[in-house]
Subunit: 375 residues, 2 copies
C-alpha cells in the first residue's frame, strides 16, 4: 500500500473500532498515544510503555529538530532505532510548539521563523521543511504544518488562518514523499466556528490525506465547546480515514470524543501529572502528595495491574514524591499511562460488544467524582 | 541460627570468597551493595537492581528516621515490603549522616542530638535508639552507632573517639534483640593510626559481633592511606566473620580492598555518577555529556549486557543527559550498577579460579586509563 492503512472494524453509535496499519506495525483504535517529546516518554523505558498496551507514541518535531537535530537522528537510523521504540510513531509538524514555546516567531506565507527556547538560535519551518524533517525522523505518520491561532480570535483572523493553513496543507502534501506504510494527516482548524470548521474539513478532504486531525481544541476552551466543535466537524470527515483529536485530554474528554467518532489521541496529561504526583484512578483522581496518603497501605488503584499498583502502597508513593525521588515520577507516570491504555482498551471492548453508551455513562460519572478515597 | 551466618568458601591470597546468610536470603561475597538511601536505589526499580545481580542493598537510618519515619515503615510491614525489595538489607547506624548532613549536632556520652536537614526538627540518636530504629526497619544487618571524626584529627582526639565508639558498640550489642538471620556489625575506627585501628579491632572482637566494618575511610584520605590502613586493620579481624569497608569506592578501590581481605562494600558513586552523566566502563570512564559522544552509535560498553548498553547508543544517552531527561538518569544508573555487579562477579570468579592476582592487575591497569574512547 502507499500511505498508512485504516480498517473500520465496527461502530457503536458514532463510536468506531478500527485498525491503523503503518510501516512499523498496527494500532488498534480508539488509541491513546503517550507523548515522547524529546525522543523519550518521560520517566519510562520503552519496554514499560509497551507493557501498558500502548502501540503508537508521539514525537515532537520542534523539540527534536532543535535537539539533537533531525539529521543526527536520521544518521543514527531514525527515531525508532534512536529511542528503541520499534512500533509506530506519529510526529507533529512543530507548528503548535513554535507558537507556544519559541521566541521571536514570525509567520509569513512561506512559513514561520523563530528563535529556539533552548539556546536562542534562529530556525525556520515551512510546510516543506516540516515534512522533510518528519521523513528524516522516519515518522510513520507525519502531520501537515498549520497555523495555530491563539483563542479567542475574531472571525476574520480565524478565517485568514484557515486559508493559510489550507495552502500550507496543500504544499505539505506536494512535499510528502509517498512510501508504503507512511502517511500524512491534514489538520482541521477554525476555532469554535462551525462554518470555518466545515470549510477547513471540506478543503482538506478535497486535497485527500491518510487521516484527519482536529486541531486547536487543547487550549483551554472547555469540554463543552470542544464537544460542540467535534459535533460540527466530524460529520465532514470521511468514514474510511482515522480521525485524531490533537492534545486532548482528560479521561472523560477521551470518552466523549470517542462517542463523537474520534479514533486517536495524544496528551501530556498522564505523563506530566505523574511527575507532579497526580494519579488517575478508577474512582477519580488522587493527589499522592496529600498527607492523608502518608500511612495508607492500599495501592493507588486496586483494579490496576501496573507495577506501581501491584507492588507499592500509597504510603510509599507518597514518600517517594514528597522526597523528590525519581522512582516516584517513574511509578506515577507508569500508572497513569497504564490507566489511559486500560481506558482505551475498555472503550474498544465496549464498542466491540455494542455497549459503548453504558461504558460512557459509567466512566463519566466516576470521573466527575474527583479525589474520593477515604480511608 | 542466631545472628547472620558467614561461610568462608575459599581464599586466593588474602582475597576471600564467602557467603552471608540472612533472614531474607544469601549474599555471595565479595559483594557490592547499591545504596538505597531513602528506601529507593535512586532512579531504579527494585527489579532493575536485582537484574544486575545485586543481592543486598543498603538503607540509611538517618534519612529513613526523618522521612518517612521508622515507626511508619514498621507499621507498613518493614523496609523490605515498603520498598518492594524482598532480599537482604543492611542499614547504617545514622552516625555518619548525622556528622555530614545534620545541623547543630551535639555529641555526648549518651549519644548525639541534632537538627534535621529537611525541616529543622530536633532529634537524637543513641546506641540504643539506633539499634531499635534498625529493628523497626527490619534490617537484616544493623550497624552499631559510632562517632565519625573529621580527619585530620590529632592522636588524642582520635583515641578518645575510639574509646567512645567502643562504649557505644557495647551498648549497641546489649540493646540488639537477637533474632535468627539478623546480625549486628561492629565498626573499627582509628583514622590512619595503626595503633588505634588495632585497639579498636581487638576491642570489638572481644565484644563479639556478626561482622566487622572498617569505618572512616571514605572521607578523602586517598587510596594509598586507605590500603595501608586496611593492611594494619584486617589482620586483627577474625576469618570467620564478614568484613565490610564502608562507603568505598571506585572500581580499583574495591579490587584493592578485596585483595586485602574485604568482603562487602557500599558506595553512592555508581548511582550518583549515573545521575550526572558519568559512566564506569571496561575501558575506563565516560563523561557522556562530552560533545564527542553526540553522534557515536556505539554502546557505552560493548561488553556490558545492561539495557543501557544493549538497546541504546552513546549518542542517545548523550542526548538524554544533555536534555535533562529522567530516562538518562535511569539508564546511566542502571549501567553503573551493572558494571559494579559485573566487577564483583568477576572478582568472585577469579578467587574461585585462583587467578585473583591477574584479575587485579588487569582491572587496575584498565581503570587507570580514564576516559579513553576515541571514535
Amino acid at each position: 500500500m502507499s500511505g498508512t492503512g485504516f480498517e473500520l472494524l465496527t461502530t457503536d453509535g458514532s463510536a468506531r473500532r478500527g485498525r491503523i496499519t503503518t510501516a512499523h506495525g498496527v494500532v488498534e483504535t480508539p488509541a491513546f498515544m503517550p507523548v515522547g517529546t524529546a525522543a523519550t516518554v518521560k520517566a519510562m523505558t520503552p519496554e514499560a510503555v509497551a507493557s501498558t498496551g500502548a502501540q503508537m507514541i508521539l514525537g515532537n518535531t520542534y523539540h527534536l529538530m532543535l535537539r539533537p537535530g533531525a539529521k543526527r537522528i536520521e544518521a543514527l537510523g531514525g527515531l525508532h532505532r534512536f529511542m528503541n521504540w520499534p512500533g509506530p510513531i506519529l510526529t507533529d509538524s512543530g507548528g503548535f510548539q513554535v507558537m507556544s514555546l519559541a521566541k521571536l516567531r514570525k509567520i509569513e506565507e512561506k512559513g514561520v521563523t523563530f528563535q529556539s527556547h533552548i539556546d536562542g538560535s534562529r530556525h525556520s519551518l515551512t510546510p516543506e521543511t516540516s515534512v522533510d524533517i518528519q521523513r528524516m525522523l522516519d515518522a510513520d505518520i507525519s502531520m501537515v504544518l498549520d497555523e495555530c491561532v491563539a483563542l479567542p480570535a475574531d472571525a476574520k483572523r480565524l478565517a485568514a488562518s484557515v486559508e493559510l493553513s489550507m495552502r500550507w496543507a496543500e504544499r505539505s502534501k506536494t512535499a510528502f514523499v509517498s512510501r508504503d506504510g507512511y502517511g500524512l494527516f491534514g489538520i482541521v482548524q477554525g476555532g469554535t466556528r462551525p462554518d470555518l470548521r466545515a470549510r477547513s474539513a471540506q478543503g482538506l478532504v478535497a486535497l485527500g490525506f491518510d487521516g484527519y486531525a482536529v486541531g486547536g481544541l487543547a487550549v483551554g476552551e472547555g469540554q463543552q465547546a470542544m464537544f460542540e466543535t467535534l459535533d460540527v466537524t466530524v460529520p465532514h470527515l470521511p468514514a474510511d480515514r482515522p480521525r485524531y483529536l490533537m492534545g486532548v485530554g482528560r479521561p472523560d474528554d477521551l470518552v466523549g470524543a470517542v462517542a463523537r467518532g474520534i479514533d486517536m489521541f495524544d496528551c501530556v496529561l498522564p505523563t506530566r501529572s505523574g511527575r507532579t504526583g497526580q494519579a488517575f484512578v478508577r474512582r477519580g483522581e488522587v493527589n499522592i502528595r496529600n498527607a492523608r496518603h502518608a500511612e495508607d497501605p492500599r495501592p493507588l488503584d486496586d483494579a490496576c495491574a501496573c507495577p506501581a499498583c501491584r507492588d507499592y502502597s500509597r504510603a510509599y508513593l507518597h514518600h517517594l514524591v514528597k522526597a523528590g525521588e525519581i522512582l516516584g515520577a517513574m511509578l506515577m507516570t507508569w500508572h497513569n499511562i497504564q490507566y489511559y491504555q486500560d481506558l482505551m482498551a475498555g472503550m474498544r471492548a465496549a464498542i466491540d460488544a455494542g455497549t459503548f453508551a453504558a461504558f460512557q455513562k459509567e466512566t463519566t460519572s466516576r470521573h466527575a467524582m474527583g479525589d474520593i478515597d477515604p480511608l
